[in-house]
Amino acid sequence: MNTTLLIPIFLPLVAGFVLLFCPNRIRALPKVLTLCISIVAFAVAILIFTQGSLTYAWSVLQIDNLRLDLLLHAKPLGAFILLFAMGFGLLITLYSLKSMAGAKRLNEYYGAILLTIGGSAGILLSNHLLFLLIFWEIVTASLYLLITTGGKNSNFAATKSFAMIGASDAAFLLGISMVWTLSGTFVMSDINLATTSAIPIAAFLLLMTAAITKAGAMPLHTWLPTSGEYASASVMALLPAAIDKLLGIYLLVLVVKGLFSLQSGALSVLLALIGAGTIVVAVMIAMVQHNLKKLLSYHAISQVGYMILGIATMTPVGVAGGVFHMLNHAIYKCCLFLCGGAVEQQAGTAELDKLGGLGKKMSITFTACLIAALSISGIPPLNGFVSKWMVYQGIINMGSSQTSAAAKLWPVWLVAAMFGSALTLASFVKLIHSVFLSRLPSRLKNVKEASWLQTTPMIVLAALCVFFGVFYYIPLKLFIYPALGLDASTTLLGTWNSTLATGLIAVGVLLGLLILAIGQLSKKVRLVPTWTCGEVQPNDQMIIPGTHFYKTVSSMNGLRQLYNWQERGFFDPYNQSGRVGLAVTGLLRWLHSGLLPMYLTWVTFGLVVLLFVLCRIW
């Protein structure tokens, strides 16, 4: 029994609930309260992580054999994710102090942030499926609230997100009830079902749906880009980029490795297919986006593919890679959204073709964004490379050590993952070019760097990207291996001496500097205007926006059609189910025409049917 576990859950939840109803005129209270509580939550998370396996139990009620106990258990996986979730909460709160300073509904914004923090702590510590679901719903609801604080059109995005995640939560509830029927308990550590017959498989699929919708994998991803376009950047950085990934993948690991033991080949293929498909398709869409935040949102989808693929390999290195990628993704994507938010705030737009050359004006944001962008593209020696490299090893290892159908298809998964990585690089080259490099449009001559409150979180996250890449064995040994119960010495199969490589690259750079120094001996550096072969043009006409970079791809035969359909929402389950819903209501409307003869006809028809049924005339 340890009451420490209650603090990160109920302190933010209670405070957040109070803040929701606090009058909006007291503008200092939400900021101070949220900052203090997120610091406390982070500190307690560190304590929980270092103290190891703490438990707490409190019997709430019991009806017959249905027991509702508040069971909390800090397992290694949950505790390490909790540590990072609370860390992200703190960083985003810090960032919001400046970025949301002008927002209208400050109390709701900070209240929802606290609810998110408390809810996610609850999910990560809960050992009881029903409480897990309750906390899960709290996070969903606070996501809705947070998106609505965005501004124009954000209500639409919030509704769409809530509808899609809410629908997956219904699947979650159904899955939980099936699990309860099968195993007779809600206590997660007591459940282990074999996926050999129809009902466990159905339950598995339902729980998986909930997990991948939260994480944002295809085909249930469409809430993410819509909210990316309309929600504020700090919200995107907190939920879809960081905490939703942590929670979704946490649930997926729990489902795949804890609640069920995966014995069906078809399910492995399905998981791997979702993973590989998500990587390639989402990044292809991301490549042609014109809006900074929407582009980042599609990458938040694409990267989930690596995590799912890693877990689907069911090899130690693959699963470890998938979970490590979850952590790395949360770090660099959070950083990217924060940078994107700073750019949007300072330059007044997030449209790529209206930006450019900001690297000179916002050098800190640029540096952080460049590091995070190279990380997500898997450039060695940064952290994104390490986890992708582990996922690749997992795929190759699966091919040589397993005999299932998913293992036989390993080349498909490997090619999708590695090619997806090249496309990610292409997409971020476009982003870096059109936002920070290229030429500065005359409109943006007076742009300034964002406040230190905003740059500090970016610097912290970018530094983590470098640290987790160069010294990747530290987070692996500290967080990932204990969380999954793996043996540190046997997990990795490949060779990557990241620290030495970084040192050698530094030596190479020094050699290059030496060459430059020799060149400098005789002549000085001279600043010159841009050389355009003698053709003098005004500044704004010399800008080549990055949005033009991949027209070659989007106008290729075959791809052009697909892009066109995608643009029109053909592949969006939200739109499609909306269409089905409209068709159904259209039918009902047609039936309810308000004409008495029509109703009488139906009544007569119904009576005839009843008569037939009751008298059994056939």
């Binding site: 496309l423 060779t495 050699l511 550096v525």
Partner: protein
């Protein structure tokens, strides 16, 4: 990695670091590969000249060129993001240097150094990435067009390159260690041959040689990616290119052609392999016109892609039924 995790002695790690320093700066790193690369540059120019019925430059011409560039002043565009503009060639060169040192250490010591084959594939992107970022930072519209073409080219050849890697992994039985891969010769099979030939074209594109030189195309976008570079900065790019001219054929030899043996008779055989790859690259360079970027992407994605999917299927069948020549 395993040895680092196992916590070997501090003195040992120190010696290892000092040796690595020697490897990267002198042999087989900078001095050696740089000299060899400039010699290879001379071979490229001489053979091209012979193909075109010219006399061609003297052996030391590439050295003179680099020395001359070092004596010129460095021009930096006013609108450029200066740090990226100057750092890009340095990082690109450092990455290529690391790549070539990894491959040479595999050849010399027959054991993995720093990274495995996936690491090498990723390090091979660094030069192109540096080129793109540097040219994009120069704020020149021509350079921006060059950067977009370079990036599309990378996207184009990355797919067949990954497929070729899959063929190699299937052929070598799931090996990632470069030293282990180097002991086998996948090219003695239909799938391995296909993968080798397509990889050769990918190397051609990575080197920016005709028919895949659209990122630099002098005649239409005035050297594109390199347009604003001059003096010592341009010299660093030239050095990087010289290093690539050694490292990339060496990659093909390590992965497909049974490795680069370095003692006695195998050394002559290895040099023969290197010259073969180099001459193939030069001949392709001299007998083809430049293609457009959309043609290049279609070529890599569709034609090379189909050929290599076939190769992967053949290799998988071959490994399943133990037929080595498939």
């Amino acid at each position: 990695m395993g040895t680092v995790l196992a916590g070997r002695g501090k003195g040992n790690a120190m010696t290892q670091a000092l040796w690595s320093l020697f490897w990267i700066t002198v042999f087989p790193g900078f001095l050696f590969t740089f000299s060899l690369g400039l010699l290879a540059t001379w071979v490229v120019r001489k053979v091209s000249a012979l193909v075109q019925w010219r006399v061609g430059p003297p052996v030391l011409q590439p050295f003179y060129d680099v020395a001359k560039l070092l004596g010129k002043e460095i021009l930096v565009p006013e609108d450029a993001q200066r740090i990226v503009f100057i750092a890009a060639p340095l990082v690109g060169m450092a990455g290529t240097l690391l790549l070539s040192t990894i491959l040479w250490r595999v050849a010399v010591a027959q054991s993995a150094f720093v990274g495995d084959v996936i690491v090498v594939i990723y390090l091979m992107v660094l030069p192109s990435l540096a080129l793109i970022l540097g040219s994009s930072a120069s704020a020149n519209p021509y350079a921006a067009i060059g950067a977009s073409r370079e990036m599309k080219l990378v996207m184009g050849y990355e797919l067949p390159l990954v497929l070729a890697l899959v063929v190699v992994i299937v052929k070598t039985g799931g090996q990632l260690n470069l030293a282990a891969i180097a002991q086998q010769t996948p090219v003695y099979s239909i799938s391995g041959m296909l993968a080798f030939l397509v990889s050769l074209l990918c190397i051609q594109a990575k080197l920016g040689f005709v028919p895949f030189d659209m990122a630099e195309s002098e005649t239409e976008i005035a050297s594109g990616v390199l347009m604003e570079y001059s003096g010592a900065l341009l010299a660093v790019w030239k050095v990087m290119h010289a290093l690539m001219l050694v490292a990339l054929p060496l990659f093909l030899i390590t992965v497909f052609l049974g490795g680069f043996g370095t003692t006695g008779c195998p050394l002559a055989w290895s040099i023969g392999k290197y010259v073969l790859v180099l001459v193939l690259v030069i001949l392709i360079k001299n007998t083809n016109p430049r293609v457009r970027i959309d043609q290049a992407m279609k070529f890599f994605w569709v034609y090379c892609g189909i050929a290599l999917v076939l190769a992967v299927v053949l290799a998988a069948i071959g490994s399943y039924y133990d037929i080595n020549w498939l």
